[in-house]
Amino acid sequence: MERPNPTEQKRTRAHLGGFTLTALLLALASIPSLYLILRVRSISSDELVAILARPKTVEIILNTFTLAIVVATLSVVIGTLFASLIFSSNFRSRGILLALSALPLAIPSYVFTYCWIAIWPSFRGFWAAALVLTFSTMPYILLAAFAALRRIDKVQVDVARSLGCNRFQVFTRVILPQIRNSIAASTLLVILYVFSDFGAVSLLGVDTFTRAIQNLYRASFDRQSAALLGLILVLFAAILIFAEERMQRRTINARSTARIKEEIALITKKAPKALAFAAIIAYSLLALAVPAYVLITRMAGNFQGIDLASLATATFNTVLVATLGATIAILFALPLAWTIISTRSRFALATEKVVLITHALPGVVLGLSLVAFSSRIPWLYQSIALLAFAYALLFLAKGVGATRTSIERVPHGLKEVATTLGVSPLETMRRVTIPLAAPGIGVGFLLILLTAMKELPATLMLRPTGFDTLAIEIWSAASINRFNEAAPYALLLILIAAIPTFILSRPDRQFQDEGGRQL
């Protein structure tokens, strides 16, 4: 009988390890959906039909979808346009423009909304929500498109030009096909985010799934109907995720060593350049200056009342638990990405989809499902660990793509060399794959970190009693209309969240370059 060689054995063991961790992730990420199913099961079939047939349910579905489509369209158009403009024009201030357009990512949607209502009291309704959500999601598309643009081979552009393509044709035939998949993946995240957002839609009075679910919990303690709406949301998210997968088309990935930089300048003439510049500045002003103005004047209105000790504690807590959450998320993302790449198993691919679905869930649903699951485990319930884990589940979707793509891009040859030199698969992972994929994994980490800092509904339910984060402090003051008191916390949260955003937006870092495909 042939003896299995030791490397083969080690590989099998590593596969088993990756598999086990993926299975664990699948089990944990399924908690919210299982919880919803359990709750819905106690509804009688008559009631079920009654809820589904209500005109309001239809309205909620329409609202949610229209809002998601409008926001996604605006974000994709503006994001791709800005990315192309910033990338292809020879602005000297490229870095600054990119950072300015990405920074709105640091502002939580509820803070955005409060600020707009403050300067414009009748700011309300569908288009108001679409505007706020476009501001807060456009940077995802922008960064993804920019990262994809940087990977395009300059030679292809030159060839196209020499074959007689004009600039527009170069864009539609050479550039767009190569950035399309990155943009599609980010658009999916934008849509899932719009599904789950509560801050903007509730303050602006737009009935989406999340607002309806929250209202049902709030006013009637009606956990069954809320769960049913949650389950419908899960269903829609699943359909979208599969649709996006079908839409992904193969892209040309071959490239020489040279890359396009300023060379494919689409706009070189003064007038259009000034126009592009003005558009980007106008966007940044609307998205950044309005909140900055409102928050700073509010804070100045109550300067004596600023409690430095509580600001410091809340900042420390925010950074601590968001960092932990992002770390846990990456620790799950790595084995998942590795299992998907090395085995292509359906099981691992399904896990990735469940993770994406979780991203569409309102924080309150995830919160309650974890309450139901963990309240019988006293050492875990309402601990920092549980809150960090909740962040990991909610936002893992933002890290999984970046991690997977960056690992996929590690040249296979290097891994084989390591193997022939007798290095075990786990060692190869640690010494070859992870260091090379680190920039991309870093992008995923920063995105999760950034989003976790802003999270509110799940934080309210799962934090340790008395554990205040910046988002909690903002909520606490704003819920009784003390916006002056909320302002310093909001400003600080934006400043802290601006740090990872700024790192993500630096165009000339390898960081971006390698990892950003599926921002």
Partner: protein, 347 residues
Amino acid sequence: MMSRLERQTVQSKRFSTLLIATLAVGASLLAGCSGDSSTEASELTIYSGRSETFIAPFLAEFEAESGIKLNVRYGDSAELAAQILEEGENSPADLFLSQDAGALGAVAEAGLLLDLPQSIMASVPARFTSADSKWVGITGRARVFAYSPDRVSQLPTSYLDMSDPIYKGRFGIAPTNSSFQAFVTALRLAEGESATETWLRSIIANQPKYYEKNSMIVEAIENGEIDLGLVNHYYIFEVAKALGREISVKDGFFADGDLGNMINVSGAAILASSKRGDAATRLIEYLLRTSTQERFVAETKEYSLLEGIAAPTGLPALSEIAAPSVDLNALRDLKATQELLIKVGLL
């Protein structure tokens, strides 16, 4: 003389105290005497639907006075109620402080609350407590219309007047807010489903502006966006405080006995799963003490439910409002209210 019921309650209370003490001693023996074995708890966990800004000074005073450390979890009353329902027997909370009676009623209905001692139940008028001793009202909040005295010359005398064409497009409501829904629930129970539906449709036809919160309505009146709106009485003070200046918006009451003047309460309840019932009882006693109640009136502008304590400055006494009697226990029945609000298109 104690009535039989009171005696029974006291006896059952004594029994449960004994049982809890026995269990506690037993548990600490089993656990190798790791915890402290004193009968009086040194810590309490509170789920508070009341805002930190308003309630924290009171809780701090109680901590200093009693030596009991309080761990307070702040949140939205209804979300905390949903959380307690989800936690069930495993809830770490000892005490639930709620903004309104509905959330307390929902937790009581699930059988998760302890019977409160008769001494506490007797100190608050029965119409502001749960009939089965599950929760007690701490402060009162009157339903009013807030209005701009400059722009509204003819004041409404009944909630029915909100469908009067003279207010067309000039008033605000907050249909997703629990205080509005509590009012609609009271209306349903008093006047019936069809009368309530007729009223809701008539005010919708009168083109109100919709807001997410009561405070937004008051601000909108102050800004001139609308002229009046249905809110709770203390929001004019809250908004003035938040803006840091006097505002021109005033509270108005409907005619005597009109349902529009309904009184809701903020209240307290002890969780059945709590092992620190005595300490929790002490905190409720502190909240209902005359000196504490006077501070509530002065600082949060709420009504005291106790006899003989003055109303907030500038407002009529609770007894003068001539509010209709509303069964606050029934306010938990929000499901039918929501169905109705959904049916007429307000939710």
